[in-house]
C-alpha cells in the first residue's frame, strides 16, 4: 500500500466520524502497527575507537543528543558499574558527555554492557597468524585517516564514514580468522540483544543508542529487519 492513501486516511483519523475511524483501523492495520513500533536511532561515536587518542568534538556529540532528546539513551557501559557511579572503564564519550547530559535532562540512560575492544585479533598459528596480524595492522593503518577526517559526531554518522568504518571492520573480521569472526559476531549479537530488550522493556518510546561507529553498520542491517522496531536516522527520531 502506498504512502499517499495512508496520509489521506490519517487526515481522517483524528476526526470525530467513527465510521471513518473504524475503516481506517481495519483497512490500514499494517500501517497503524508501523506507527506503534519503537523508534530506534543509532548514533555512531568514535572517542574510544581502537583505544587510540583522537581529536573528537564531544560538544558536538552533546549538541546532537540534546537536540534529539530521546526518551532512552543506550550507552556502552556495564550496568553494575553504572549503578555504582563507577565510570572508570566507561568510554570517554559516555563518561564525559552522555551521562552528564542525561543527568541534566529527562533522558534516561540504559547501560547496554561494556564492549571489548579486542575482538578483532588475529587467530591461527605460524605464518598464517603472522599474515593475519600484518593484514589487520595494515587495515588499522587506515583508522588515523578516518580519525582526522571525521572528528565530530555529525561527520562520523555520515553515510561515507559509516560505510567505510563498517567495511574496514568486515575486512578485519575476515582477516582475523574464524575465532576472530566468531568473537566479533558474538559481541555485536550481544549488543543487539541488549538494544532489542531495551526496546521491548519500554515499547513505543524514542530510543537513541550511542555505539562505536565500527558496530553501527552491522547493527543497522540487523535492526532494519526487526518487526517490532523502526530504525530511523538520529535526526528523524
Amino acid at each position: 500500500m502506498s504512502n499517499r492513501p495512508y496520509s489521506f486516511w490519517v487526515g481522517h483519523f483524528t476526526c470525530s466520524n467513527q465510521v471513518v475511524l473504524r475503516g481506517c483501523v481495519v483497512c490500514f492495520r499494517d500501517k497503524v502497527n508501523v506507527m506503534n513500533k519503537t523508534r530506534i536511532a543509532l548514533l555512531g561515536t568514535l572517542a574510544d575507537l581502537h583505544a587510540q587518542p583522537i581529536r573528537y568534538d564531544l560538544a558536538e556529540l552533546e549538541r546532537i543528543v540534546a537536540t534529539t532528546q530521546p526518551d532512552l539513551l543506550g550507552v556502552e557501559i556495564e550496568r553494575d558499574e553504572f549503578e555504582r557511579n563507577d565510570f572508570v572503564n566507561a568510554p570517554l564519550e559516555v563518561r564525559d558527555a552522555l551521562i552528564p547530559l542525561a543527568r541534566k535532562t529527562d533522558m534516561v540512560i540504559v547501560p547496554l554492557g561494556a564492549m571489548s575492544r579486542d575482538e578483532l585479533l588475529a587467530s591461527g598459528k605460524g605464518w598464517l597468524l603472522d599474515l593475519r596480524t600484518a593484514l589487520i595492522r595494515a587495515l588499522e593503518g587506515l583508522v588515523p585517516w578516518i580519525q582526522t577526517t571525521a572528528s565530530d559526531a555529525r561527520t562520523i554518522n555520515s553515510a561515507l564514514v559509516c560505510h567505510t568504518c563498517g567495511w574496514l571492520c568486515d575486512l578485519e573480521a575476515m582477516a582475523s580468522g574464524a575465532a576472530g569472526r566468531r568473537a566479533w559476531a558474538a559481541a555485536n549479537d550481544n549488543l543487539l540483544t541488549q538494544i532489542v530488550s531495551m526496546a521491548r522493556h519500554d515499547p513505543n518510546t524514542r530510543i537513541l543508542v550511542a555505539v562505536q561507529c565500527r558496530r553501527k553498520h552491522w547493527l543497522d542491517s540487523k535492526l532494519r529487519r526487526m518487526a517490532d522496531v523502526e530504525l530511523v536516522n538520529y535526526w528523524e527520531l
Binding site: 532528546q69 526518551d71 532512552l72 543527568r103 541534566k104 529527562d106 534516561v108 518510546t205
Partner: protein
C-alpha cells in the same frame, strides 16, 4: 506547559542578589532551559513556564503563576505548598534535583524534595484509611513505581532506576492515582504510609 522540543522558560525571583545571580548563571548553562529574566520582587504577570522563587525572604502567599519555591526550612515548605507552590525544594538540594524540579513543575507535575515528602508524611493527620478490598490491584510495574514514589524519588529518578522513560513513569503514576483514588503524589505517599508496612 512548554512544547516537548522547546526550552523551558524560567524566571528567577529573589531579592538576594547573590542567590539570584548564582541561579541565573547555573541555569543559563543548562540544555533545554532558557532564563527569561530575573526579578527581586514578586510580580503579578510573567511570561515564563516556571518561576523559580527564593521563598525565604517572602511570606507564603498565593501567586498567580506556576512556581517552584526554594525554602530553607521544612515547615516553610508546607506553608508554600498550601499557598499553591507546584514544587518545593530545600536550598541544600543538588543541581540535579533543582533541574529535575524545574522540568517536573514545567510539565504541570508536583515536585517535592525527599526530606519534604518525609516531613509531610510524618506530620500529616488525620489520615483517611480505605480498606484494601476497595483498591484495584496494581500491576507489577505499577508496584515498582509506587515503591519508589513512596521513597520520595522524582519521576526522573524513578525512570532511571527502572530504566523506563519519564513519560512511561508518568503514565504509571496516573494509573496508580486512579486506582488508589488520590489526586497527587503527596496523597499517594500518604496512602502508602497508611497501608504499606
Amino acid at each position: 506547559m512548554p512544547a516537548p522540543n522547546l526550552p523551558i522558560r524560567v524566571l528567577v525571583t529573589s531579592p538576594r542578589a547573590l542567590n539570584c545571580a548564582g541561579w541565573v548563571a547555573l541555569l543559563r548553562g543548562q540544555p533545554q532551559i532558557e532564563v527569561v529574566g530575573e526579578t527581586n520582587a514578586l510580580v503579578s504577570q510573567v511570561e515564563s513556564d516556571v518561576v523559580l522563587l527564593d521563598a525565604q525572604p517572602f511570606k507564603p502567599q498565593a501567586l498567580p503563576f506556576r512556581f517552584l519555591a526554594i525554602v530553607s526550612a521544612l515547615d516553610d515548605a508546607v506553608q508554600w505548598l498550601d499557598a499553591g507552590a507546584m514544587g518545593c525544594i530545600l536550598d541544600t538540594a543538588s543541581v540535579e534535583e533543582l533541574l529535575n524540579a524545574i522540568r517536573q513543575v514545567a510539565r504541570g507535575d508536583t515536585f517535592l524534595s525527599p526530606p519534604i515528602v518525609k516531613h509531610i508524611v510524618e506530620s500529616a493527620v488525620p489520615r483517611h484509611r480505605r480498606s484494601e478490598e476497595e483498591i484495584e490491584p496494581l500491576t507489577e510495574r505499577e508496584r515498582a513505581v509506587f515503591q519508589l514514589l513512596a521513597q520520595g524519588l522524582s519521576n526522573k529518578d524513578m525512570a532511571q532506576k527502572l530504566y523506563l522513560s519519564v513519560r512511561t513513569v508518568e503514565g504509571h503514576l496516573l494509573n496508580i492515582y486512579g486506582k488508589l483514588r488520590v489526586n497527587s503524589r503527596t496523597e499517594a505517599v500518604l496512602w502508602a504510609v497508611d497501608h504499606i508496612q
